[in-house]
């Protein structure tokens, strides 16, 4: 199975075999299908140019980052969870665990927390502009002690905590680390993920996000702190998903995601941080559900472009700097309020595309999310969808099953080429930060969103139940109703917290944070903002108080 110019022992297939036997010794990953036919964990052959094809786990990782993937370690199911008060979310967590969810890697428990919009943006529940949104669509968290309720009794050294939020990200990590410290957990045992969507080019959230320049400086600070003190923590997720959800095409979303990595890396290099120290902990959040084959191809292209950019443009040498880890999420914007059960089917196809792409983690949305916050029944069905794909369909037996497909390979190359063209365009326009500041990126995304909508209007694009196969019958579905008392209780709680804490100690810690922020903003003492966020959170400062200081120093988006 080698072409004439490749020596058998150096061929990708031979190298893959050597890696697998060195890593997994005699373990067999051969599966047997219904008819008793043996199925190899991966298939090789010649690529489109007649050379022996790259194998999974080999640069540039088109076919996946591991030589053996789901056959050894299935994806991590991270259903989004969070509403109301920490105590209310904790009840839902316990239910999910009971249902067989919340499974992380290596027997860890894993939770994917989503916060209400005030928390997500870094505001406390008693901020005057946020009434009506407290505990709605996410948990309200504003102080370290909230984690003591949310994660009471959990062994944090065996719990993976993923936090989905925007501008509030830096201060939120401070709260979590402070809570872990109080409970006596060493930082080098803590695993988790911070989305850190603190800049703004995919969505609205204009003035609550940090200025683009301030955002990238803060990301460098957090990444550098985590690399040194919380080495198992992933401090940055680039959300291809959010860019798509805001309306971008797949090609645009991959290109802007890579452009974001380039901007982060350039910031690190400017500050004297070796990308190889921080990049291995960066990851992606990718959206699935719009076009099955395009999404498989975009994932393969994303992994390839990421590897090439980090190696060729930034000189990264570590393999882990070249391997794009991908958390998949099905497409929320494709969920329809009309005939909502159809969304179960949409989600299943999206999730299957993610699995056939070799995604590492999975969030399957609930079918009723276009109606409101998910019900328990809907959340359970999402988990079952993942379990059916993993344990019934056989999709996990072979890595990169589309590798070698004329269609998918050609589409992968095409997406790669178009992505590099957009990156070159962004470079010509002065880089991503300049493109965010000028409004160019936003304009591109909105134009793509509007075009998509017009295709729906004209019928050129079908949405079943919306512009085709519609029904007039009124449909009755249970809709989750958040607890209206949650807001009152959250406000009373934070007010009591402010009265009971050591005010002098808290004020001093916030002053230290301000000094560190000013230094970091001037390009010195990188990592000290994160260190002082932990310090301030330990001294009972709230999310909103820390955020106000960061906003003041790093600037708000216009």
């Amino acid at each position: 199975m080698t072409s004439a110019d490749t020596k058998p022992q150096d061929s990708p297939y031979a190298l893959w075999q050597q890696t697998v036997s060195a890593r997994y010794r005699d373990q067999s990953f051969v599966a047997r299908n219904r008819s008793g036919v043996e199925v190899d964990p991966v298939y090789g052959g010649l690529d489109r140019h007649g050379k022996e094809a790259e194998m999974p786990g080999q640069y540039p990782y088109t076919r996946g980052i591991y030589p053996i993937h789901y056959q050894f370690q299935p994806w991590m199911d991270l259903q989004i969870i969070g509403f109301g008060l920490p105590s209310q979310t904790r009840e839902r967590m316990d239910l999910l665990l009971e249902q067989g969810g919340s499974k992380g890697y290596f027997d860890r428990e894993a939770y994917n927390f989503i916060f209400d919009m005030p928390t997500s943006m870094g505001y406390d529940p008693d901020h005057p502009g946020v009434r009506g949104s407290i505990g709605d669509c996410g948990i309200s968290v504003c102080k370290a002690s909230d984690y003591e309720v949310l994660l009471a009794g959990k062994d944090l050294a065996k719990t993976t905590v993923s936090m989905v939020l925007n501008a509030g990200s830096p201060a939120m990590l401070g709260l979590y680390l402070a809570a872990a410290k109080r409970r006596g957990f060493a930082f080098d045992k803590l695993g988790g993920n911070l989305t850190n969507y603190i800049w703004d080019f995919f969505g609205h959230s204009g003035g609550t996000n940090f200025s683009p320049r301030g955002s990238y400086r803060l990301i460098a600070d957090i990444a550098s702190y985590c690399a040194e003190h919380v080495p198992l923590w992933n401090p940055l997720t680039i959300s291809e998903h959010n860019i798509c959800e805001a309306g971008a095409t797949n090609v645009q979303a991959v290109a802007y995601s890579i452009a974001a990595i380039i901007a982060v890396n350039e910031e690190c290099v400017k500050l004297g941080i070796d990308p190889d120290i921080v990049v291995p902990r960066f990851g992606f959040h990718v959206r699935y559900g719009e076009n099955f084959f395009e999404e498989v191809a975009k994932t393969r292209a994303l992994r390839r472009v990421y590897a090439k950019v980090n190696r060729e443009r930034f000189g990264c040498k570590k393999n882990s700097s070249l391997q794009a880890r991908i958390h998949a999420q099905t497409a929320g914007s494709l969920l329809t309020a009309q005939q909502p059960l159809n969304n179960l089917v949409r989600n299943a196809y999206g999730a299957l595309a993610a699995v056939l792409s070799g995604a590492n983690g999975m969030t399957i949305n609930a079918y009723d999310e276009a109606l409101g916050l998910p019900t328990e029944e809907a959340v359970t069905l999402s988990l079952r969808t993942s379990q059916i794909i993993a344990e019934e369909t056989g999709a996990v037996h072979v890595s990169d099953p589309f590798g070698g497909s004329y269609y998918v390979e050609s589409l992968t190359d095409d997406i790669e080429r178009r992505v590099f063209e957009i990156i070159a365009d962004i470079d010509d326009r002065g880089g991503l930060i300049a493109c965010i500041e000028s409004g160019w990126i936003k304009q591109q995304v909105s134009a793509a969103a509007y075009q998509w909508r017009q295709e729906i209007e004209s019928g050129a694009r079908t949405m079943v139940g919306v512009n085709k196969y519609t029904t007039d019958e009124p449909e009755q579905f249970a809709v989750f109703q958040p607890d209206p008392e949650a807001a009152r209780m959250a406000i009373a709680d934070v007010e009591r917290h402010r009265l009971e804490r050591d005010a002098a100690r808290c004020a001093e810690a916030l002053e230290d944070l301000r000094r560190a922020a000013v230094e970091v903003n001037e390009g010195r003492a990188i990592g000290s903002v994160m260190a002082n966020l932990v310090g301030a959170a330990e001294a009972d400062a709230t999310l909103g108080e820390m955020q106000a200081i960061l906003h003041e120093v790093f600037g708000r988006n216009k």
């Binding site: 209400d116 609205h204 959230s205 609550t208 309020a337 509007y450 109703q481």
Partner: protein, 138 residues
């Protein structure tokens, strides 16, 4: 025949903490394509919406909610419209509007509710009709 009536002026707005702006940005483009003047802002306080509506002399306000605040915020805005003596300025609401939001929204006089999947043509026609009716009020 050329339409000599002034273009409808529209204020589209959503909360500063709600990052889901795909729908409102799309509606803004659709209304502009239909020759309306669109002001698109996010507000920190519900009352700010009314201040901007008066400054910009708009004929209609469109509120988008994707992540909470549907009823409480709308009630505050309507109360402020009454306090500032423009109780008839029409308000329409769009986004994730749950069944239990509808009655209180209708009770405060919201003229129309649009959920995801509503045809853009209907949205545009509704804004146009309500805005022109408001402008030509006695």
């Amino acid at each position: 025949m050329q339409d000599s009536a002034p273009k409808p002026r529209v204020l589209l707005t959503k909360s500063f903490i709600d990052s889901h702006d795909r729908a409102i940005a799309t509606i803004a483009l659709a209304l502009r394509d239909a020759a309306m003047e669109v002001v698109l802002i996010d507000y920190e306080q519900p009352e700010d919406v009314v201040t901007v509506a008066l400054q910009e002399d708009v004929d209609i306000i469109g509120l988008s909610f994707m992540s909470g605040g549907q009823v409480e915020t709308t009630e505050k805005i309507v109360a402020e419209l009454q306090r500032r003596d423009v109780p008839d300025l029409p308000v329409v609401v769009g986004g994730v509007i749950r069944p239990f939001d509808v009655a209180p929204l209708e009770a405060v006089g919201v003229r129309e509710i649009f959920r995801g999947g509503a045809p853009l043509a209907d949205v545009v026609a509704t804004f146009d009709r309500l805005a022109r009716a408001y402008r030509s009020r006695v």
